[in-house]
């Protein structure tokens, strides 16, 4: 049985407000939580079958060139070595999210330093790693462009947009800013390194991997190997963080599969941390020019946002920096520009809210600069410029919560304590300041399927290849199913990350919860209808609670009504509500920082994030997502930066000692407020994606606070102490 919905109409029923089980939205603990904290949740590389051999990559030591020969024979003499592989099927880099087909293949052409160009397979990991280290290869090295600014930028026609005449608007404006900011490359920083274990059973391949979107990865892997997708099964029940870096099938999966076939045994390939940095996705660095102009009332008349990013040759992805700019603020005259340089650096792809993460951040810095110039409160400036319909497309908004978020945050944070005059508060060596920024992220519904099976015993099983990458999918699908079918949380079992299950949407772009949740909802709704049929009743008139059905003045346990399992596959596809309205999530960030007047060191003292993302499915996991995003904001603002070697582009600081993620001591008390919202256009759950919202704009609140504290505008992220120092007066 199936239950299908194309989301063409808003769903005003708000069924989850009527159901009475009472677990939806609660701060229910994760069903998988205990297993995770006790170490019994099994992650990819831990799921080692008997007889597994280990593969370790050897890397390209040059940025551009041709691999003409590898000396595998010599390695065979080393203890434990079973095979040395390389060749046309090797992936140059991971597939981009949702590619559904193989990325660029072939180990002969070297496109960046760190490209995995050979795999050494041995009995133990240490043997394989040593042998990979010893591998001799012949390479013809070529000069390759490394620095985007040297390479020059392509200007893809379909990525430019303009309305009105911004140049003229700038000239006519009462006030304007025209600023350029840069952001560096970022690493996703997922805890679990990328790893795959491949095992063949005849023609059938099972790959245990650490992947966000098995629904695509199955096809990407099959295409890379040249086998039928039906013969590929991917398992990813637990994923230790992804943040975009595990969206597409990656080199280790394909190499593991090739190796397993070659040696006739299961082969596991786990990347070292250094390899994770070099051979998985980075977020592109960016240069962004933002132009804003206002009339004498402080109303925006024009917005320009031009982004310059980079990627490898032949990669389609380019960081969608300006994604939210077309609709965040009003203004008749608009320019959106996207430019991409082709360079020989680690592949750029989705990392932590691609687009808005850095794009909204810079836009929000420019807004702060404008507010300061205008001598108007930065919150006021934003409130004045909230559009009532999408100013670019003219489409209505499905709902709009920015004003509410800004005002709620203003009161809760104590914004009235802020002195708009920079450098006006000091405690000893510390200069104090406050800053804020809007948060916005586009909302996406993705096609999703899930099967729900209700058994007469009063338990339900949810199956989909959707993943839980630490986000809380196990929890929220349990809650949706339990709420709809009237079952307590412990009566619902959720099975994820197995491509033999119906295809979910995968975890990416914050769409996972709402999309896979809708598939579960649809299946449950149909199950309810099936139960209702037995009573000759209308599904909506039944109340499901704690394993019993209440109908009029009758009440019966489920087991009395059904004598066999009811299984329904829910299936949702995006429809007109995705195209005919503008859907987004909004929020507001607030930060108070202390900047050391001697050293330029910045410490965040406190942060508040106010967010609205439709119905909150689980108060605890939603909050955790926001905390994570805000913490990433601290990293983006202050510490995180991939350093590319200026000569060969390689990632110099490729470990967690030198790529500085914020640590506990960098993260103060973070306060999160989730606003009540229902978005009927989003899906029948009225829920929207929340995962990425917390990072969008967060860094700007911090750097705006640095300006308020010091009067120093750091326009080159991250605001490390040297850059702050450069603007501080000589006498501390």
């Amino acid at each position: 049985m199936t239950a299908y919905l194309k989301m063409d109409e808003p769903d005003h029923r708000r069924r989850l407000d009527e159901t009475v089980q009472g677990i939806i939205g609660t701060a229910m603990d994760r069903p998988d939580g205990a297993a995770k904290v006790t170490g019994t949740a099994i992650y990819a590389h831990e799921d080692q079958p008997k007889g597994m051999a280990h593969g370790v990559f050897a890397r390209a030591p040059v940025a551009k060139g041709t691999l003409t020969r590898i000396d595998g024979e010599k390695l065979r003499a080393l203890p434990g070595v079973l095979a040395v592989l390389s060749g046309p099927k090797f992936l140059r880099n991971p597939a981009q999210g949702g590619a559904n087909e193989a990325p660029v293949q072939g180990s002969e052409t070297i496109a960046y330093l760190g490209q995995p160009i050979a795999l050494v397979v041995a009995e133990t990991f240490e043997q394989a790693r040593h042998a990979a280290h010893m591998l001799e290869m012949e390479i013809t090295s070529e000069d390759g462009l490394i620095n985007p600014e040297d390479a020059g930028y392509e200007t893809p026609e379909d990525q430019q947009d303009s309305q009105g005449d911004l140049e003229q608007a700038m000239r006519d404006a009462a006030r304007s800013v025209d600023v350029t900011y840069t952001t560096p490359s970022h690493n996703s920083g997922a805890m679990e390194p990328h790893a795959s274990i491949a095992a063949w059973d005849g023609d059938r391949l099972t790959l245990r991997g650490s992947y966000q979107m098995p629904n695509y990865n199955q096809y990407e892997l099959a295409d890379s190997l040249g086998v039928e997708p039906e013969n590929v099964r991917i398992l990813a029940p637990f994923v230790g963080g992804g943040f975009g870096s595990k969206l597409g099938i990656a080199p280790e999966a394909v190499a593991a599969a090739l190796a397993a076939r070659e040696v006739g045994r299961p082969v596991g390939v786990a990347l070292t941390r250094q390899q994770v940095f070099e051979a998985t996705m980075r977020r592109s660095e960016s240069r962004q020019r933002v132009r804003l102009c206002v009339d004498s009332e402080g109303r925006l008349t024009g917005i320009g946002h031009e982004a310059y990013v980079s990627n490898l040759p032949d990669e389609e992805f380019s960081e969608p920096v300006t994604q939210a700019t077309p609709f965040l603020y009003a203004g008749a005259h608009r320019v959106i520009g996207h430019h991409i340089a082709r360079v020989h650096r680690t592949c750029a792809g989705s990392v932590r809210a691609p687009g808005e993460s850095i794009g909204v951040t810079v836009l929000e810095n420019a807004m702060d600069e404008l507010a300061h110039d205008l001598k108007i409160d930065p919150i006021e400036l934003r409130l004045k410029n909230i559009p009532d319909k999408n100013p670019t497309s003219g489409l209505p908004f499905s709902s709009h919560t920015l004003a509410q978020a800004l005002k709620t945050g203003r009161d809760r944070f104590g914004w009235d304590q802020r002195n708009p005059e920079p450098r006006s508060r000091r405690e000893g060596e510390w200069l104090l300041g406050m800053g804020m920024a809007s948060a916005v992220r586009v909302n996406i519904l993705s096609e999703a399927r899930a099967r729900v099976t209700l058994s007469p015993g009063g338990t339900a099983l949810v199956e989909t290849d959707m993943t839980d990458i630490g986000t809380g999918t196990y929890a929220i699908l349990t809650q949706i199913c339990g709420e709809m079918l009237g079952l307590a949380g412990d009566k619902v079992i959720v099975s994820l990350g197995d491509t033999d299950h119906p295809h979910g949407p995968g975890s990416g772009g914050s769409w996972g919860a709402a999309s896979s949740g809708t598939a579960v909802f649809l299946a449950c709704q149909k199950i309810r209808a099936e139960v209702a049929k037995k009573l000759d009743a209308d599904e909506a008139d039944l109340t499901f609670k704690d394993g019993t059905i209440i109908y009029g003045n009758r009440q019966a346990p489920l087991s009395d009504l059904i004598d066999q399992e009811i299984a329904v596959e829910g299936h949702v596809e995006p429809g007109k509500t995705s195209d005919e309205v503008t859907q987004a999530t909004y929020g507001a960030h607030f930060a108070e920082v202390a900047v050391n007047a001697v050293t330029g060191e910045t410490r965040v003292r406190r942060m508040l994030g106010v967010f609205a993302a439709g119905r909150i499915l689980n108060a605890k996991t939603a909050r955790s997502q926001c905390l994570g995003g805000m913490t990433f904001g601290i990293g983006m603002a202050l510490t995180e930066e991939i350093a590319h070697d200026p000569r060969d582009g390689h990632i110099v600081n490729h470990d967690f000692a030198e790529y500085h993620l914020p640590v506990n001591a960098d993260v103060p008390q973070l306060d999160v407020v989730l606003l009540e919202e229902r978005d009927d256009y989003a899906n029948p759950l009225q829920a929207k994606g929340i995962g990425e919202l917390g990072i969008c704009g967060a860094a700007a609140a911090i750097t705006n606070a640095i300006f308020n504290a010091t009067g120093v505008r750091v326009r080159d992220y991250p605001a490390t102490l040297d850059k702050v120092l450069a603007g501080l007066p000589q006498k501390a």
């Binding site: 890397r59 030591p61 203890p79 330093l113 240490e126 790693r129 040593h130 280290h133 060596e429 001697v598 050293t599 330029g600 060191e601 410490r603 202050l638 510490t639 350093a643 590319h644 070697d645 200026p646 000569r647 110099v652 600081n653 000692a657 030198e658 500085h660 914020p662 640590v663 506990n664 001591a665 960098d666 490390t720 102490l721 040297d722 120092l725 450069a726 501390a732």
Partner: protein, 328 residues
């Protein structure tokens, strides 16, 4: 990682003998094992000294301390005698690495940890320290964490330790057991060598020598400060650090002992700077003069140019703090 032979030393003499025969000493392993995994260091033999009876901190007759090489960084930082008499050491230790690392890291291992130069850790990059004569990738590369003092055109790496900076200020001595010559004692300052043309030779230890103890002279008069400036609030190496022990008498600086981390190939100390300060009345102008002298030969390498103004500002702040009020 290459395969290696492993044995456990029964007594310090055996450790020194094995070391003399070419074995590499392993203590906490927090640095050595990382380097072995990357094959930056690829010893054939390891001699494990962890079971030796060198885990104790003893008070010496003259009121100083004798610290066994196996005393962990955590234990040393927490020792009440250290906290009271040599607080700069305790603070320096606690500002280093993380709780987990400090639990494993040992006193001798900390002194002998290798540089954190990115290129040193990457065997595809030229590095004179790792592979003499291959070149120095940090020159002209990304060198944010590199040295501004005491460098050569062969190597610009820093010694990354915090603990060693404090010990240098405290005039620590290192007790060395030599397979050939028995026990000898040197000033910590004499343990390290400048890179010159031989950046791969980092210390004056000879093969077959192991550190058994660090000796601290009796507590110093005056105020002790350790200030570490870094890229995040914890778990980051010093960009610049200063260990200061300063005594002010009757409004004048009676003694000033200063060592600097994050700026040189070893914990950096410059007696001329201390002489310049001694006997003087604290003032911003005096700090200026002292830093001018300290930084006379300082050279930035590009990404680390900021260390020069940073050191200047930090030293002034440390000296202000050290001499504020009555100096107590």
């Amino acid at each position: 990682m290459r395969t290696f032979e492993y044995s456990r030393a029964a007594d310090p003499g055996e450790a020194a003998r094995f070391a003399h025969e070419g074995a590499t000493i392993i203590a906490g392993g927090t640095n050595l094992l990382d380097l072995m995994k990357l094959e930056v260091m690829a010893p054939d033999r390891l001699i494990d000294i962890n079971r030796l009876d060198l885990k104790w901190i003893e008070s010496t007759q003259d009121g100083g301390l004798r610290i066994g090489t196996l005393v962990s960084n955590s234990d040393l930082a927490a020792d009440m005698r250290v906290r009271e008499g040599w607080p700069v050491l305790s603070k320096a230790l606690l500002s280093g690495a993380t709780g987990q690392l400090r639990n494993k890291a040992t006193t001798g291992g900390n002194l002998l940890q290798r540089t954190r130069c990115y290129y040193f850790y990457d065997t595809d990059m030229p590095c004179n320290k790792r592979e003499p004569g291959s070149g120095c990738a940090a020159l002209g590369g990304f060198n944010r964490i590199h040295a501004i003092l005491g460098t050569s055109d062969q190597c610009i790496a820093t010694h990354p330790s915090d603990m060693a900076v404090a010990m240098r200020t405290l005039d620590a001595k290192v007790e060395i057991l030599s397979n050939e010559e028995g026990v000898r004692m040197i000033d910590l300052g004499d343990l390290y060598r400048l890179p010159g043309d031989t950046p791969h030779i980092e210390t004056t230890l000879k093969p077959g020598e192991m550190i058994t103890h660090v000796i601290l002279p009796p507590p110093l008069e005056g105020r002790q400060i350790y200030r570490k400036v870094r890229d995040r609030a914890s778990y980051a190496f010093a960009l610049v650090s200063i260990a200061a022990a300063v005594d002010v008498q009757d409004g004048k600086i009676a003694t000033a002992k200063l060592a600097f981390g994050g700026v040189g190939p070893c914990p950096w100390r410059m007696p001329q700077v201390e002489n310049l300060l001694t006997g003087q009345t604290p003032s911003a102008h005096l700090w200026e003069k002292a830093t001018d002298l300290l930084l006379e030969d300082a050279t930035g390498q590009g990404s680390n140019d900021f260390k020069i103004p940073l050191l200047r500002r930090t030293l002034a702040a440390v000296m202000d703090e050290a001499t504020r009020g009555d100096g107590k």
